[in-house]
């Protein structure tokens, strides 16, 4: 049997990530990619639904702080992520299963690396188990 590979669902901001890439390429390597025009559009419900829907991790690729095309969309989502991590802990879900990256990569070459990097971090957790309840926090 082949070793366990966590499913990562990845949101990427079009303004910072891979807009030069002729879509298909990165798409081919990276499944479950959701391009979005500004990471600020990503809502809590998206992230939770993704985890519920079987994503072992959710990765959000946003622009550098202060370089958001819409002023502060990445900052807004950043705050959400911090809060969501706290909520996930109560649900007994490892907060590291949600990650936000503030950077820029027009060619999108870094995207697969970022995803791999997150995979490595969360694979020890094993597949996500929402039913599981939190022990003393």
């Amino acid at each position: 049997m082949d070793e366990y590979k966590p499913n990562i669902l990845c949101f990427k901001c079009n303004f910072g990530w891979g807009y030069l890439d002729d879509k298909t390429e990165v798409k081919a390597i990276v499944k479950n990619m959701v391009p979005v025009t500004c990471s600020g559009k990503v809502d809590t419900t998206h992230i939770l639904t993704a985890l519920k829907g079987g994503a072992d991790g959710v990765l959000i690729l946003g622009c550098n702080q202060g370089e958001c095309h819409f002023q502060d969309g990445n900052y807004q989502t950043g705050k959400k992520i911090l809060l969501i991590k706290k909520v996930l802990t109560s649900f007994g879900i490892e907060p590291k299963r949600v990650r936000m990256v503030f950077s820029i990569d027009p060619d999108g070459n870094k995207v697969p690396m970022e995803i791999e990097d997150m995979r490595n971090e969360i694979s020890p957790f094993g597949p996500i188990n929402i039913g599981k309840c939190a022990m003393a926090s």
């Binding site: 303004f15 025009t37 500004c38 559009k41 002023q71 807004q76 060619d107």
Partner: protein, 597 residues
Amino acid sequence: MWKTECGGRTRVEPAVKQFLPPCQVQCPINEDIQRTNVLISLLPEDPNAALEGVQQIGDYLYERNPLFTVCGYVCGLCELECNYSSQGGAIRRRLLKRFISDSYTYNLDEKEEFNIIKNKENVAVVGGGPAGLMCAFDLSKRGYRVTVYEASPRLGGALWLIPQYRLPEKVLTAALENLVRIAGIDVKYNMRIGDGKLTLDKLKNEGYKAIFMCRGTPTPRVLTFGKDPLEGQDLSGVMYGHDFLYEVSHGNITKDYFRGQKVTVIGGGNVAFDVARTARRLGAEVSVVCLECENKSSRDGIPADHEEIKGAWEEGIEINYSRGVKKIHGESGIFKKIECPLCTSVFDDAGFNPKFDTDDTMFIEGDVLIITVGSGPDKLALEKEGLLDERGRLAIDPLSLQSKTKEWIFLGGDVRKIGFMVEAMRDGLYAAESIERYMRGLDMHEGRTRAFEAQDIPKSRHYKHEPDVVWIPPEKRMHFQLFERGFTLKEAREEAKRCLTCGPCISCKACISIGLQDELPTVTVHEERCSGCGICTSICYYGSAQMKHVGDNKVKSTTDMFQCKACGMCVVACPTLARELIGCDLETKFNGALAAL
């Protein structure tokens, strides 16, 4: 790869109240600055890959402004209104445009002619300056057969007065020659209207259905004191700035022409400083004398741009503020010195009406006196053509630029009102529109008064300071090469990123043309779901999410579509799903990705 598509061209609707970024409102031809800023900010880091992009951005700019390569060197009007001025310095739009121009200029020669079917009437344009060329370009694109009558042996008009250390000759010539080639415009050189037999009526008889008259201001204004012209302006060693610059640009003046000589320049405008700095580069020791005072912000402040004054000062040019010229002294027909009383005030409520304190008078000696106090139109010619009213002023309708005496004649450019290059270009575009309306028998005015509202500065937590412009140090720049360094690709991307893109998406659409998204989403409010909690107004950076009162002291949120950028922040923040992004494919893509898990 970097690719924009012509899809998503922005439109600036006449006669429609529209929010625009202030730069675009300020620009006389409403160039969509934000859009190209965004595109530049999205250029690839790799210079070669970027070149493609620069080319495409250039093509886009060229379609609406064939002289943008020149503007990039000489015009920074938009920067005056930039929202960012209040927060660390205006976006250096001129340098950004110059960054495009720097490489685009060298592709102009290869640029293909527009493929236009010329099936409309013949139109003559009298004068090959910015106004005329712009008009000819626009009419030609509309399908008119346009002929430009240029008095001199080359196009460009007043543009040639711009010294080459600010505007390289190559940039100018490339722009001018290719413009007429690409737009398929016929040019007749050395044809001075009103000169001998060639009159406007004659042109009309030759079959030109309409004529755009933009002969500029060929006549230098003479120096006066009080009402009367000063004597001594005919002394040897006394000349007029415009003639001087003209000769320099035509290479009729050798370098070191003024070596060892003392040159005095009269005038406080940009042209005067062009003259002074040019003279300096020709070896002269230069001093400027102007009526206006040093404080630019006061009513009597010096009109020349801050950069000009700074440059001149760096280059060792002495500036005598608040001095008039009461008398020009000469000896045996040769200029010696001027007598300069203190100017106590330049303007009063009556307008230009200088007052002097003759008790405080200084003498400035010199070998050469260059008078640069402006220039005016060739009144005689205009009078002969019968284009003036009883009070000797141009008889035209200010909106349509149509002559009140001859409805087939249109006038614009400096001849109408001396101004910046791009203002003349705007006249050209106006005239073109008027001529089209005149030909098609349409109303000359309807829907031409524009109502643009400048967008406020967006709320941001990261305002950045403007980058410094790099000038070659004075001692190293006493020549006619450019003294201002342009942006590198990296600098250009950085500066373009700094742009807050105040303008609404509808006036930009850069993201669409580069394929970041397929269409502009819009935010709708489902009022039946909105509880008026106002969280959307708190989050909105553009002031587009607003509250309105409904009936019994309740509030509901609305979206000002003019200002909204559909960034979706309010949609995410809305706790009751009252706000929705229409035309945003996020949900579809998300569900797709979810299904693929």
